[in-house]
Symmetry: C3
Subunit: 331 residues, 3 copies
Amino acid sequence: MKKTLIALAVLGSVAGVAQAQSAVTIYGKLDLGVTKLSGDASDAAKATKLQGNHSSRLGFKGTEDLGGGLSALFQFENRFNADTGTQAGDALFSGPAYVGLAGGFGSVKLGRNWSTVDSVSSAAIDPFEGDGIGGLNALTRARINNSVTYYTPEFSGFGAQAQYILGEQPAGAVAAGTDNDGYAVAATYNNGPIYLGLGYGREENSNDSDVWGVSGSYAFGPAKIALGYDQRENEEVPNTEKTKNLVVAGTYEIGAGLVKAAYNQTRDGADNTAITGFSGTFDKIQKVSIGYQHNLSKRTSLYADIARTKVTNPGVSDTANGVGVGVTHNF
Amino acid sequence: MKKTLIALAVLGSVAGVAQAQSAVTIYGKLDLGVTKLSGDASDAAKATKLQGNHSSRLGFKGTEDLGGGLSALFQFENRFNADTGTQAGDALFSGPAYVGLAGGFGSVKLGRNWSTVDSVSSAAIDPFEGDGIGGLNALTRARINNSVTYYTPEFSGFGAQAQYILGEQPAGAVAAGTDNDGYAVAATYNNGPIYLGLGYGREENSNDSDVWGVSGSYAFGPAKIALGYDQRENEEVPNTEKTKNLVVAGTYEIGAGLVKAAYNQTRDGADNTAITGFSGTFDKIQKVSIGYQHNLSKRTSLYADIARTKVTNPGVSDTANGVGVGVTHNF
Amino acid sequence: MKKTLIALAVLGSVAGVAQAQSAVTIYGKLDLGVTKLSGDASDAAKATKLQGNHSSRLGFKGTEDLGGGLSALFQFENRFNADTGTQAGDALFSGPAYVGLAGGFGSVKLGRNWSTVDSVSSAAIDPFEGDGIGGLNALTRARINNSVTYYTPEFSGFGAQAQYILGEQPAGAVAAGTDNDGYAVAATYNNGPIYLGLGYGREENSNDSDVWGVSGSYAFGPAKIALGYDQRENEEVPNTEKTKNLVVAGTYEIGAGLVKAAYNQTRDGADNTAITGFSGTFDKIQKVSIGYQHNLSKRTSLYADIARTKVTNPGVSDTANGVGVGVTHNF
């Protein structure tokens, strides 16, 4: 949905547009609204807040035709909180940040890149894109540092990718909070109304995790239904050895509007949705989200989301309700 | 004075300027000079320094016509110190950072925005804009996080605004350093040579402050005279229950030059002017500032400012003199 | 090698390119590759890493014609690590950040600027530009905060510059880690195949250092040979009173390729090359670097570098070998 903006490169004379030789695309998003939680969330979480469904962002990207079918490409993207002007995430460019080459062989990207598993697991079909009041739980990290990712060309809708993650740790060093080498592979099928994705990843950290993800969607007319499932198996931490996450979602276009609904269930995992704020690991987390997005243009929309989250442990059952209304502007 | 720069959006072909569909405005300011304090300021404050009258900045803003008289708008602005390249302020975008909508009803902005009271109090008519050697004292914060601000359309020069500030604290939480909900209202009159502003704000923090501000200016030929007054009343801190701030200022255009002069008096308050650096609360603070700005173009100017600050408490009377010369470039 | 990109300023109508009135140049670099050290480096240093030969960057710069031969100029540049998206260096804009004026008299720049000595010492002729696996040792800081630098016009290839550095410390304050006032002067000769540079700088910090630098190069056809030497003398620290650094380098163009080779020897100094990572001060540091850069275009290149570093102290002699391959893209 990001409308790209090409800043013209004109060397010598600003009137000589035909001399344009270089390009960088500047893009971004501003997203802010008012959110309110109620129920069993903490008092701090229940304060009325100004925050966006997504973090706001400012990005720079470009491609260069190198001839012979080869091209260079790059992208890097800052995330920020427009309510306070502060940096979002743990890096100046906590969105993607990579450089790469593309050609007949496909493409290769080096740097901080989208996670291969995340891109085909339940996160891929979350109509709330993981964020905001309605955002669903996921077991995968959205972006991966120090990664080398290869993408095949698409053949008849089929595509695949392989990602190698440099842990940058000495051999044998395995400590919590640091990540050693890992890898991931995924395959996708995109053809008309059908989307399917399947991926597996291995993270050689203190948990030595295997992560599986699968997702699919089918569109018929204004409606789309989607299903996603991910599973994380930790070899080294017996008490939470296997976490499972399921998403069932649907969207329906009504004129300039889009209705979204989703059910999400996590077994033996933590609630990673930023806004609800239940902390710890639970036997079962269930979330129902309903949202409406009204497009004022291709770049600007208003939204209203409601969600109910229930976390269950032996002898404990807490619920929180959330509501958020806001505006998103892409540039 | 910010000359806007529109980076053209050209989708498909860089030669097809007529296809432009999207725009972001990139703007900024570089400001650096040499400053020197003397008198009773601390030894550290008296070191000769390279610093600007204002922090340098890089901003991004844009509007989108949504049809039917409605438009979307956004702005976010980084502040930095060009002498060291470091971030200025406590956020990546410590200037404004907001998204909003505008139409026949006026406009609404969500985010980190200019303070409604600040925009009509003594700060509004400080010819030194609050910064640098000549900058005057003020009782209001320049920008407000987590704010929702509504601006009426202007009718015959009359305008008004109302600002609601989300404290994002649980009900009943009142702690120093954190801000709870607050609000502010202001009215302005702008017509030919006359400007008038009046505002009131309530901050529900540990001090529970009421802030009043009023300002006015009158221009005749190359001259402009201005008067501003603000008052802050703290309910919860008896010893500094009321702070008063007065500004009398004048400017005079001479060809490409602008002469500035101001007198500022604060009663029972702290010296918030960054460069003088007297700390603590004083019975009386008096400052006289004189400056000359020479415009090399609409975007670039040289400046020279001198100022004398005197702080008075029972048995104490300290003065500091300051001088600064520098260059400002807007892009 | 930085291709500039001029974002057109069009006020009023995006179709009216001839109305362009303002310009900011947005430029940058993405650089990432895989590096590997072996030998006597620490286990942590020997982990395979994704990192660039240079830090990636995003810069903004511009000039404004003020008439009468005078112009305003500015530049500020962020450095970041594209492997993680994190800020590189100790400031948001840790590259240059300055504003200045240029005219018949030459030019003056205020702010964080390139070091005058660095620009003419061994660093000036390092074909690896100080960074990456092949980067050579240097005794000078690349960029200087709080500096005022004057550049003469060039006459028949001769040019000179003088730099004053404000320490911003009270008189008499001399502490390790803080820098007091300093200054530097340099002269250069650039004419056809010949380049010569000579500079001297004085840093009034806890070491009270005198820094000398000299460099030269001669090009004949596709080949260029270069020689550089710098010396740092510390008055206040007897044990490391004099450090000497020598660089001998050569490059050879083969079609779209560039072969680089260099030998570097430091006496009584520390290894400041970021990647090798030997810490402490050594009697002798020797480095041999060989690299090949293949230009896919004027903006994009692939590179492969190997280097061997040997550090020697009485009774100690350690060596590390490094290899790195990667891609650089300028925009």
